[in-house]
Symmetry: C2
Subunit: 214 residues, 2 copies
DNA sequence: ACGCTTATGCCGGTGACTGGCACTATCTCT
DNA sequence: AGAGATAGTGCCAGTCACCGGCATAAGCGT
């Protein structure tokens, strides 16, 4: 599946790319993201810095490679099947499918990347922005003329928050394999309908104004 | 209000801080965030780079100063009045109050900062992370033992998405003053209850699984 | 085997950020 | 008011991410 009809050049490139990701995750985990230098990384993989920067946009980029892979697959899914008027289930389905189509061993790299992210503010920032970029592209997809874009954004944010919650539970789990991730996703997404009653008690203007002058 | 019982040292420090923010916004807007160098900035304000970095954590930090100010005020409000079992109106009220207590001229700086942010990916990343940091601190506040943290996070994300929506509308508005911002906030937060019916149609497992094997 | 494309390496430069240390301005206490 | 404590500031030198340009080599189609 990895080398399906690829030319030798492309395969070589992919190989060094994977080597860079693996070594980066190892190195960053061992020494910390800030303390580890790119020189160490590229020397370990035996490529030049220039090559690194042609494959990755930044030091953060390589650390978040597994996550970007996932969102790329998700993006492709959503573009292939643009969501209908009730998009939430479609988003969820696309993400589930994306998780399933990741290569073998992806979950281990992803987990390492997440752990790194949790203790590295710079990585959090990049992760959030990438997610926001994907969201921006996805929101516009299959949006009927009369439909509200705000509504879409709200639903997507709920979906993302549930996903992040599932991730956090998964990471602190004893068995961080793909089945466990699926199960955490089930739990998190199942909680979404329970939110409805809390929204009908949404702020009316009188209450809000009272807060202003408090 | 600005110089309320502050020592001379503190007032001086605040003055250079404000000068740095103003000049930074001017410079970044004129030349672009990446193209403008810190040397230009500190030379214009006549301070050393070292001083700059004692006041701001990074180049991004100074560009997002108005936003950080707002979230600091918001944070303080929420900490002063921890939200009850239906936290959404409390969050909204806290943000409205925070907007009102900003100093004169804040909205102009904030708008400039937002415009800059919109065309500078690095600023988006930092902005999102800061917001996430605030969220993390706020979620735990006033959370009763039996209450679900996930539920809180979901509500806060809705709240934040509505806020960002209000900001975007405000920015493209003809009159970006504080009254207009209030009005946009009203509109955006009023849309939240409409989301409830869309949640009852949340994903069931069968639908989701179908997507997986598609 | 031959050009053509593409990836890579090397080199030098820029600019954000940091630690150390001396210096000066402000504060505080008597 | 003056002396010592307490910041805040400037200067300098260093590290490191990142990006041009150009030469080289490795893979590709004919």
């Amino acid at each position: 599946m990895t080398d399906a009809g690829l030319t030798l050049r492309e395969r070589k490139k992919l190989r060094t790319r994977h080597a860079l990701v693996d070594e980066a995750l190892r190195l960053f985990t061992e020494k910390g993201f800030a303390a580890a230098t790119l020189d160490e990384l590229v020397e370990a993989v035996e490529v030049s810095q220039r090559t690194f920067f042609r494959m990755f946009a930044s030091k953060e980029d390589v650390a978040l490679a597994p996550e970007k892979e996932l969102w790329a697959a998700y993006s492709a899914r959503v573009e292939a099947h643009p969501p209908g008027p009730s998009p939430l289930p479609d988003y969820v389905a696309a993400l589930r499918a994306a998780v399933e189509e990741m290569a073998d061993g992806w979950e281990a790299r992803f987990l390492t990347s997440r752990a790194l992210c949790d203790r590295t503010p710079a990585l959090v920032a990049h992760s959030l922005r990438h997610c926001a970029d994907v969201t921006d592209r996805v929101v516009a997809l299959g949006l009927a003329p009369g439909q509200s874009e705000l509504e879409r954004r709200l639903l997507i944010e709920l979906f993302l928050t549930a996903w992040r919650w599932a991730l956090a539970r998964w990471a602190e789990d004893g068995a961080p394999d793909r089945a466990a991730l699926r199960s955490r996703m089930d739990d998190a997404f199942a909680a979404l309908p329970d939110l409805a009653p809390l929204l009908s008690a949404a702020p009316r203007h009188e209450e809000a104004r009272r807060g202003v002058h408090a």
